[in-house]
């Protein structure tokens, strides 16, 4: 079964338009702070997304939120994740490598959730270190992180994937269009 729009807002393009507007507004606010954000690396960013989500997230959710963060804020200009369309939405080899490295360095813990189709969950280990980075973050970027976490906290992973699929056709696989 191919991809299908679920609502009129998706089908008419309203949802995509609103996401575009959000991206324009957020990237304008964050732009002046990009040099400060550039002091971080991609691994710090993964930890910050975990931090904004009560330090624990399913792998797919973590990927989706980081993708939205990089699209809305424009940080991909300074911190390339090189997203590309994959079966479950945008994927980044660089992020996969970073997650492995974070595990090896003992900065995050990986857990398999048996009663949830063996999904992977990541938990932040050194919360104190991340808290220190968080405190020094520019307000505009903190706000973007919190906004995404709040916006999607009650959504199922499938709903976030669908949202991204609708709002970012560039990263939707051909088979699902």
């Amino acid at each position: 079964m191919g991809f299908e729009f679920r609502t009129w807002k998706e089908e008419s393009g309203v949802l995509g338009f609103r996401e575009w507007e959000k991206g324009r507004a957020v990237s304008k606010k964050v732009e002046k702070d990009l040099p400060k954000i550039a002091e971080l690396d991609r691994k710090d960013l993964i930890e910050l997304v975990l931090h904004a989500n009560k330090k624990k997230m399913l792998k797919t959710r973590l990927y989706k939120e980081l993708f939205l963060l990089s699209e809305r804020t424009g940080i991909s200009k300074i911190m390339p994740f090189e997203w590309y369309p994959a079966n479950y939405g945008p994927f980044s080899e660089k992020m996969a490598q970073d997650l492995e490295q974070l595990k090896k360095d003992g900065r995050i813990r990986e857990k398999i959730i048996k009663n949830r189709n063996n999904m992977f969950e990541y938990e932040l280990i050194d919360a104190e270190r991340t808290e220190k980075i968080w405190e020094k973050l520019p307000g505009s970027f903190k706000h973007a992180l919190v906004e995404i976490a709040e916006e999607f906290k009650d959504k199922k992973v499938d709903e976030i994937s669908h949202y991204i699929h609708v709002a970012y056709p560039k990263y939707a696989t051909a088979v699902k269009c």
Partner: protein, 187 residues
């Protein structure tokens, strides 16, 4: 990264529908950041005086720009997509073999891709599917009406009247009922 482009390129279908309800000007109003572009070939398709007059007003006021004729440059890329669309039409017995009818909309899509447009304004389902396949975001005429209403440019009653008019006079079908419910066209 997406989101930086501010270009919106329009096909003729949504323009005709919006002009029919005297709301073509809204395509330039839904966001002050959008630059509306129309290829000369699409402008030439707007034969109806009502649509043409409203389009000319937008151009004259500088709210819409015209791209010079260039369809020939894209012909090699248009042809295979148009042929594929025509096969679908033919298979569904909806029309005779006529790939040419799809040339303008595919041209708009390819142009939008080349210019890295933020949106392409399209009404036809298969054209929207093709635009998405090319990685483009789309907007339909009803999205323009809704966004304009949400941005307080027009009243909900006006949207209701526009939708009713388009359904009865231009036989536009809205497959998803949530729009019609939102504006009280149906219960």
């Amino acid at each position: 990264m997406e989101g930086q482009s501010s270009i919106i390129i329009s096909d003729s279908g949504p323009m005709i529908n919006l002009a029919h309800v005297e709301k073509l000007y809204l395509i330039a109003e839904i966001s002050p950041e959008l630059n509306v572009l129309i290829p000369q070939e699409i402008l030439d398709e707007l034969k109806d005086s009502k649509t043409r007059m409203q389009a000319d007003e937008l151009i004259k006021s500088g709210k819409m720009s015209v791209l010079p004729k260039n369809i020939d440059k894209y012909f090699d890329r248009i042809l295979p997509i148009a042929t594929q669309m025509a096969y679908v039409d033919f298979g569904r017995s909806q029309s005779t073999w006529n790939p040419k009818q799809h040339y303008p909309e595919i041209y708009v899509i390819l142009l939008a891709k080349e210019l890295d447009a933020a949106f392409v304004l399209l009404d036809e389902d298969r054209a929207i599917r093709e635009a998405r396949r090319q990685g483009l975001k789309h907007l339909r005429h009803d999205a323009v009406l809704d966004l304009a209403c949400e941005n307080k440019l027009i009243r909900p009653e006006e949207v209701r009247e526009c939708l009713k008019k388009l359904m009865t006079e231009r036989h536009v079908r809205y497959k998803k009922r949530d729009l019609l419910i939102k504006y009280g066209v149906v219960d």
